[in-house]
Structures are given as C-alpha cells and as structure tokens.
Symmetry: C2
Subunit: 204 residues, 2 copies
DNA sequence: ACTGCGGGATGACAGATGTCATACGCACGG
DNA sequence: CCGTGCGTATGACATCTGTCATCCCGCAGT
C-alpha cells in the first residue's frame, strides 16, 4: 500500500485542470501523477502511471468523460472513477453510474468535496449528491429511442429536414416522424424546444 | 505600496473558484482577499476589501462578468480588471474591452498566465490573446440591432412566434420580420441556426 | 428640409415543419 | 405463433416560419 493516492486528472481547460491539481496538491495524501486534456488519452495515461483514482470531467474533446470512464472501467477495473461536471444533469449521473463511476461531483460543489471524494471512493464508498440522485430517479430514464436521439442531436444545429435526411440516409418523412415523436415524448412544442429539454436532462 | 497584490475572485462554480484561489495562493506576491459567486456581488465586495485586481468570470448568475466589469470600472476606476472565460468568443472580447477590461483570458490557456496577467495589468499592461484579438477584428462588430438581438435571444428557447409576440409586446408579424433580418444578417437558414451562430460569436 | 435608419406594423405568398393514419419487415418475449 | 416495439416509409393536411413589398412614425445627421 503506497503512502499517497495517485490521481489522474482529465479536464480540457488547462487553467481549470492545473488549478484543480494545485488544489489537490495541497493535500498531503494525494498526488496528481498525470494530467490529460482529452477523453481519448485517459486509458493510455492510466496504464502508464499506475493510478488509484481517475478524476474525469465530462465535457472533453476526443471522447466524453463518461465514455472514458466506461473504457477505463473495462480495462482497469481496480481504478476508482470520480466523474466531475459543470452541469448537474440527472441524465449525466445516470450514464456515469452505468459507466461504472464511483463518485459524481458537480463543479459548483465546495472544493473540499473533491479531496474527500477521492478518499471515499478509495475506501470503497460511493459519493453522489443526494439531491441529484433524487432528481435522476424522479425523472426516469431517457424516453427517446436511439434513432430519435440521433436525429434530434443532428437537428440541434439548425439543419433542415432535407439536410438531416441526406446526412442520416433517411427519407424526409421519416426524419419528420422521428422529430415529431421526440417532440411529443419531451412535451415540447417544436424541435428547438425539444433539443433544449433533452439537453437540460442530459438525454442528448 | 502594499507588499501583496489584493485580488477579488468572481466565479460561480465553487470548485473552480476555490481551485483558482489555491493556484493564486501559491504565488508569494498575490493574495485572494475576496471571493464571490455572483456578478451582482462584485462591486460591494470590491468596496469592502480595497482590492487591486478583480478577476471576473463571464458566465455568472446575477449579472455577467462583463456587466460587473463595467460597473466596477465606473465606481472604482483604479481597480484593474481581468476577464476570464470558458469560451473564446470574439464578441466577448470586444464587449469586455468596451467594459474597461485590462486583460482577457480563456480558461484553456496555461494556468501560469493567470498570475502573470494579474501582475501585468497592475503594471499597466494589457493582456490579450493575439489570436483572439485578430479574430475579433476580423469578424467585425455585432451586426444585429438591439431589438433583433432581444428577439433572437427570446427565440432561443424554442418559443413560437405567438409567444414571442406576447412576451415582447409586439405583433407576430414584427417578430417574424426581426427574426428574418437577423437570420439574413447572420447568413443562417433558420432561427435555430441564427441562434447558434450568434452564440458562437458572442453576439447574443 | 431632406435623408437614412431603427422600431413597428400589415398582407400575401412559398416553403418548412408538425401531425396523423397507415403500411411493411424484423426482432424479441411470451 | 402472436403481439409489441422499433426502424422505415408514404401521403395528406394544417400550421408555422421565412421572405418580401409596403407603409407609418420619430429621431439623428448634413
């Protein structure tokens, strides 16, 4: 058993990443041994450094922190996973848990919770904001089918039906059908609102 | 002349705010004497602590860091202003400069630039990413009129024309006219895309 | 005094979007 | 073997959106 906890920090914004590293550096028992700025560099860095805990931001280029968590969990199941995010979206929590995360923290929680979470997951505990957990349970699972989600995501940038149809190799009518059902499932009044709602819930 | 530089830190996400404080705390000559989580608390805190430099995030509840900068610049012109943001949108840089900012930093710049910027602004220098400055000049000013911007912003959440008309006390036709001209000025194909483009440029 | 521009409005029109009924094939659970 | 849900598609219909021409008012510049 080593004397310090070895942590990998994955976060794309250098200033935030290094600031978090400085924060964790203040703790006697924690050492940030690796930093990456992209989701797709997580697994390699984890292998290279023999870490105990991975601290993963969700919003990252390459792949999301959630995808990175899933891969890491598969390859190095012993590594504890702390998922960190700007947005406390219930859907994110759900997917993080499904990806094998041990802790889920939002960035507007007090900084002290970060080091605390690292220690707790290493002790085998799970760390989840109870309010968020309640919200995740209350709102239920993502009601959208894979295809609906795909179409809605593609529609988010303002593409027209014709463009969506071409991009997704579907007929225009089918695109409209999917958007229509998505709009109804999300209780929205049009695609724009549907996108907003899906985003807020972390379903996109 | 005091021996340490007194800094106010305004940033809504506690974890990031405290991490940045930890980072600045590592510098011998810098002291974070006040932290606030809302834009509208900046001026009061600045008055209360007699600060040298204010470090302002843009995305904050209460009011944006840019508005806070403008107010602070008016009330305490001696205080140097460093604007910090997640998004390197040229329009943001422009408005920050107009609000009297002395430095403009994006969060994905190296952490070392933060302390450096604090020292430089205090020495009377301006600190601006040259790439971003070029982009801001290249794209020109916000082409939207006040009303167009207002309508576009209101339309961003998926409201229908009828709802926009009611909310803004306009006729439906007028709403459509404004959206139409906004769409054309932004070279978009519909309101959704117009919103996206305006957001990307920092014009919303 | 004239001109231009922004805010506000109307009416007409074309095209995009949302809804609905209906259909076919496929996979999966009972 | 039968129902159900999903993916895909079509056609018809109603409504929403985007465009355009045209108008009025007030204000700032020249």
């Amino acid at each position: 058993m080593s004397s310090t906890i070895k942590v990998l920090l994955a976060e794309d914004q250098s200033m935030v990443r290094e600031a978090l590293a400085a924060l964790l550096g203040l703790e006697e028992d924690i050492e940030v041994v690796a930093q990456v700025a992209r989701g797709d560099e997580v697994v390699a860095a984890a292998h290279a450094h023999g870490i105990d805990v991975a601290l993963l931001d969700i919003e990252m280029p390459g792949c999301t922190g959630i995808e990175a968590a899933a891969r890491l969990h598969k390859e190095l199941p012993a590594v504890k996973l702390v998922v960190l995010t700007t947005f406390g979206r219930p859907g994110y929590l759900r997917s993080a848990m499904e990806a094998g995360a041990d802790a889920f923290l939002v960035k507007d929680a007090p900084a002290a919770q970060l080091a605390e979470a690292v220690r707790k997951v290493l002790a085998g505990e799970r760390v989840i904001d109870p309010t968020l957990a309640a919200a995740a349970l209350a709102e239920g699972a993502n009601p959208l089918t894979d295809r609906e989600r795909e179409v809605l995501r593609a529609a988010a940038d303002g593409s027209t039906n014709a463009e969506l149809a071409k991009a997704l190799h579907l007929s225009q009518g089918t695109v409209r059908n999917y958007l229509s059902t998505a709009i109804q499932k999300l209780a929205a009044r049009n695609r724009t609102e549907a996108v907003r709602i899906a985003r807020e819930k972390g379903w996109l």
